[in-house]
Amino acid sequence: MIKVTIDDIEIEVEEGTTILNAARMIGGDVVPPAMCYYSALPGTGGKCRTCLVEVAAGSTKDPRPMPKLMVSCSTQVMDGMIVKNKTSERVIENRAGVVEFLLANHPLDCPVCDQAGECDLQNLGFENGKEATRYEEERRTFEPIDIGDHIKLNMNRCILCYRCVHVANQLTDQRVHGALHRGDHTEISTYIEKAIDNDFSGNMIDVCPVGALTDRTARFKSRVWFLNPMNATCECTKCSGKAVVWMFGKEVYKVTTRQDKYGEVEQVDGKPQWLCDECRFDKKDVSKWTIEGARHIDRHSVISQGHYEKPNPLDNKPKNIK
């Protein structure tokens, strides 16, 4: 075990842990935002640069500060390392810069975007951005395309985190889904708009942090904060059958994987609980599911403002009673 200090909080972690994961063990404000790293997808990270932190001391052995800000998702901790996240002016300033970059070409069309309310970019901008943008130029635009029967790709909203590419690479070995072109013309696409023909392609929707990949069977049906997320299971031979069904009254509007507080798919014994396309897209009948109970949304998310969770008697105790 080695010792690392993040924002003045000390923690012991195993060797090989990244700064980001060490911060997640502490939790709270100490955790840098991560828009491209995704634990269940090896190889992700390093691209968005939102997780930049300052390393004020490299290690006990070599306590020199690192001159550049480091990406916490891909930098391993060393014994005696001192990291500054929220306590570093430089980090706050440069992270605001990254937010500005990510939003530079973003259409800001939240009012018509299905992801609104559960969008990591909204949260990132709210927590780490500045009030106004200085970007006055024309934004790049693409036409939305269908990649397969179930998935809509709206490239205008993509932040090029490459998470979906890593999902696709795990699913097929033929590189059918990836990036085309370069620079700010880079475009996520399937090879000549082909679909990924795979039972697990829908998971790309869940890993997408923004509204670039959305579920065509659920789009525009309802705002996410009007839905009640329920933990549900079903008998499935292809996947774990462990899902969250998003209900409106007695109807299932949308089915997703179960995600933790960082928006990442839950893992059981180190195995990500991905969903198969049949469970996700075809089981919109509540009788196909066994409802376990309300899903706790562990973020200060607009979704939890719906108060859909059954009232907990303990929560209702008047504040002055111990």
Binding site: G45, G46, K47, C48, R49, L52, P67, K68, L69, S74, N94, G97, V98, E100, F101, L102, A104, N105, R134, Y135, E137, E138, I159, L160, Y162, G178, A179, H181, R182, G183, D184, H185, T186
Partner: protein, 447 residues
């Protein structure tokens, strides 16, 4: 006349053919290395020569070689970086085109030193004709027993291939190059791990510039002690400079490190001064990525000392008043040239060539390009100049590969030294347009 190590025989008719090259001392370094030296001794000789990488960063070649991991049973690779795409740099092309056998010889001697049995020359897609020249030389070398199995009866085997890229600047970044060589999209990899540990196909790999590898030949031939006598204390040997811009005699020159910048620009042996009797306005000494120098900092440093053609003298003054030797792409601007227009032109290049992987570079380079284009066409305002400086700071150091820095530095330096000219474009929008499109008659270019 300065001493020539690389271009000594470049004017000999037929030097691109095996026989002529061999008759002029060709392949001697291979003989010497394979017959009289151990691979480790070759590495040590290169280390001793203090050769600095000629690809731009100036990292000591021998040190890089000594970092190469050597796990049992895992192949090692040598990859020559012939992607040469930095604007203003055209020395590698000259070397390979004129002296293809020197390139092959450098590859053999270096591969032997590193224990690589398969080596690649990764060449940019636009150099297809050079690829043909190289393949011809390689075929000759195979036929004469310099490549293949059991070279010179030493038991050492080497296969050498030339692999063309698609013509992307970013594929000159060593890890993007390796991705491309593996047949993937040329996105730079995260470092660490460095190629010396995990490079091509996950195996230990050394990536070196064309000129670096060619220079190994004379180092082995004359020995490191002799090589060290050439050049300055901190910049040993000779360097190819590709001089371009408003010069009387642009071209590729081999200089001894440490001649003065003044002599190189005005000397009879070299560029012979500024064309059309004009005055010099600015200099970019090491390819488009390095900071531009205004007239008063070209032949003298800020401290008033003579500026020399060497790593240390060109960078004297840091970024505030110095620049870098970089790749040796020496670009000279005369008094009629517009710095704003040139800065925009470079920004356009970097924005076009950004791989688009990381957000600061992808969005920042394109943003700078757009703002500079507005400024240059007289549609900018004073705010834009500070905005550019700030975008710069947000890119620099925050990206995966150095392309982000390479895009930020020239803009920062141009504003640092030529701020009035940017401001003049804001206050004189009409004259700015006339000056650029009238005087220079440069056509409007759109991406």
């Amino acid at each position: 006349m300065g001493r020539k190590l690389l271009l000594e025989h470049v004017d000999v008719p037929g030097i691109e053919t095996y026989d002529v090259y061999r008759n002029h001392g060709g392949y001697k370094s291979v003989e010497k290395a394979l017959k009289t030296m151990s691979p480790q001794e070759v590495v040590e000789e290169v280390q001793k020569s203090a050769l600095k990488g000629r690809g731009g960063a100036g990292f000591p070649t021998g040190m890089k070689w000594s970092f190469l991991a050597k796990p049992e049973g895992v192949p090692r690779y040598l990859v020559c970086n012939a992607d040469e795409s930095e604007p203003g740099t055209f020395k590698d092309r000259y070397l390979m085109e004129k002296l293809p056998h020197l390139m092959v010889e450098g590859m053999i001697t270096s591969s032997y030193a590193l224990g690589a049995n398969t080596s690649y020359i990764y060449i940019r897609g636009e150099y297809m004709f050079v690829l043909e020249i190289l393949e011809k030389a390689i075929a000759e070398a195979y036929a004469k027993g310099w490549l293949g199995k059991n070279i010179l009866g030493s038991g050492y085997d080497l296969d050498l291939y030339v692999a063309p890229g698609g013509g992307a600047y970013i594929c000159g970044e060593e890890t993007a190059l390796l991705e491309s060589l593996e047949g993937k999209r040329g996105n730079p990899r995260m470092k660490p791990p460095f190629p010396a540990i995990k490079g091509l196909y996950g195996c230990p790999t050394v990536v070196n510039n064309v000129e670096s590898l060619c220079t190994v030949v004379p180092i082995i031939n004359i020995g490191a002690d002799e090589y060290l006598k050439i050049g300055t204390e901190k910049s040993s040997g000779t360097k190819l400079i590709s001089a371009c811009g408003n010069l009387v005699r642009p071209g590729v020159y081999e200089i001894e490190m440490g001649i003065t910048v003044e002599e190189f620009i005005y000397g009879d042996e070299w560029c012979r001064g500024i064309a059309n009797g004009k005055k010099i306005k600015a200099l970019i000494p090491g390819g488009s990525s390095v900071p531009i120098l205004p007239a008063h900092l070209i032949t003298k440093t800020a401290a008033g000392e003579t500026r020399y053609m060497s790593y240390e003298s060109l960078s004297d003054g840091g970024f505030a008043s110095g620049s870098m030797l970089g790749s040796g792409g020496f670009i000279v601007f005369d008094e009629d040239q517009c710095i704003v227009r040139n800065t925009w032109n470079f920004a356009r290049f970097y924005s076009h060539e950004s791989c688009g992987q990381c957000s600061p570079c992808r969005e920042g380079t394109a943003w700078m390009e757009k703002v500079l284009h507005r400024l240059e066409t007289g549609k900018g305002n004073m705010r834009d100049i500070d905005l550019l400086a700030d975008i710069n700071k947000k890119i620099e150091g925050n990206t995966i590969c150095p392309l982000g820095d390479a895009a930020a530095w020239p803009v920062a330096a141009a504003i640092r030294h030529f701020r009035e000219e940017f401001e003049w474009h804001v206050t004189h929008p009409e004259e700015a347009v006339k000056r650029n499109y009238g005087l220079l008659k440069t056509p409007e270019i759109t991406l």
